[in-house]
Subunit: 300 residues, 2 copies
């Protein structure tokens, strides 16, 4: 089955397991709105790609790990869009959860998505409990304190922050958890696969900064120019667009280098390169260079 | 070691494990503020009491289960206090997390507390992975969709709700998870212990409604009169104070009946009765009867 289909089926099963006669229907709808239709599903695709490279001998645990990582990512988007953070009206080209369902249900939908990620892992992990504890720890560390995506978001509330600490936690942590947990779900070694996720996560955050600075909302499916508007740390602000794009290319090269020797190495390297091209296309790079020229002498 | 000390030590270890050099310090402080000093810690006391009745042969998993249940409860308090819900200025006699640290850090602290609960379980469960999956599922079902405390809170956002559905999910679910998971952490049967938690949880919610209607903020350590102010379903509103207190006493009797035959049964029944007396003291019952007399003919 193609990876994309496995991921959507796993997410559908996970979300449906939280719906039952007698549950609060508006919360159920808000949760579904936060998960479907999805974005690029890049984190669960990484889980699957790495699990396959490690033999994928427990597909149910692989699927649950992929779904859990994506549910946790969706939870973070729902909460990051709240009025007290970005107050984003749009997400994936549709109203954000709090615009569609109100702020209270958006808070609760995020909470329920976090718990649903663990319910999904617990169900699949009952068959391989030895692996479950490892996957749980790895995935949780990508989300919680001290260095997961919640910590990354919290750096926006601190008076002082190093850009690399912020990016590593806000995006890198869950990417690293995706590759490491993908390996663990298939009985592989987290350590061998973590750095691929770390490099890719950092590259992804830099690409996000570049896209935020260069795109419009119609391209992004969410408000553009938010980093400047909200005073957030940003590679594009700090290094300029050309510098940020060069930084992005170095990070992608490091990610490709970090794919460990395995039967699926060539496919994985191609996946990374394809993802890089999707994130910042040659056309967008040309646009960025032009915008950078116009912006000379101006703070981005 | 007395139960209260075990619980505080387990919570301290769980919270400290999320703190490290290089983590965002204000989020770390907000998390700590949401957990310490605690309230009655009634849910983790239930976990410990039931685990002891079942032999408590894996005290590390018992402690982790107790800590996880309390961290999830604290997370729900932090989020329920947010401006979009109760906008409570006080909690446990101190400023609520969002009043002390701002709304953004309160959202993130709640999220981090949920994840920390699972990190705590994963760490302790690595030694008994077979039990881990069961405890995880039981605890998660007490919190998430379709019938956990998040669902309970979501009923406040629905146009129509049955009081018993609301109370069962909002409070009963995590009480039931506490007794069931306490049994599972010690290798016991969840089914034998769930109904004790269910009855006690329902009693606790009725007591909370009564106290909300009869106390002032200084007694409660949080704002009083919130059920009426926020239009929430409430036993005291629906049945009147005397009716609600009679209902409470019936629920406590059912809880005491539900303690299964075991070596610690007498101690457990005493604990339930002591908790009932703490929740609604004879003095408070007298006050309530008087207030009910005054309120005749008025909607509470």
């Amino acid at each position: 089955m193609p990876a994309q289909d496995r991921i959507e089926l796993a997410l559908e099963a996970a979300v449906a397991a939280g719906e039952a006669a007698g549950c609060p229907p508006r919360l159920a709808a808000a949760i579904r709105h936060g998960v479907f239709p999805g974005g690029a599903r890049v984190r669960p695709r990484l889980v699957l790609a790495v699990a396959r490279a490690c033999g994928d001998d427990d597909p149910a645990l692989t699927d649950a790990t992929a779904a859990a990582v994506e549910l946790l990512h969706c939870a973070s988007l729902v909460h990051d869009d709240l009025p007290c953070f970005d107050d984003a009206a749009l997400r994936r080209g549709r109203p954000s959860v709090h615009r569609a369902f109100g702020e209270r249900l958006a808070v609760l939908a995020g909470d329920a998505l976090i718990v649903r990620a663990y319910q999904t892992l617990a169900l699949a992990g009952a068959r391989s409990p030895q692996r479950l504890a490892r996957v749980l720890t790895t995935v949780s560390n990508g989300v919680g304190m001290p260095f997961g995506i919640v910590a990354g978001q919290a750096w926006e509330c601190e008076p002082r922050v190093a850009l690399s600490d912020y990016q590593r936690a806000k995006t890198g942590a869950l990417f690293a958890a995706s590759t490491a947990a993908g390996a663990e779900a298939a009985g592989g070694s987290a350590d061998a696969w973590r750095s691929l996720g770390e490099w890719l996560g950092e590259a992804y955050q830099v690409a996000d900064d570049v896209r935020d600075a260069t795109s419009d909302a119609a391209h992004l499916g969410k408000p553009a120019g938010q980093d400047v508007a909200l005073g957030r740390p940003s590679s594009a602000r700090q290094q300029g667009l050309v510098g940020a794009i060069q930084h992005f290319e170095r990070l992608v090269a490091c990610a490709i280098e970090a794919v460990p020797p395995c039967r699926g190495a060539a496919a994985l390297r191609a996946l990374v390169q394809g993802e890089a091209d999707r994130l910042i296309s040659p056309a967008m790079r040309a646009e960025a260079v032009e915008a950078d020229g116009h912006a000379t002498g101006h703070a981005l």
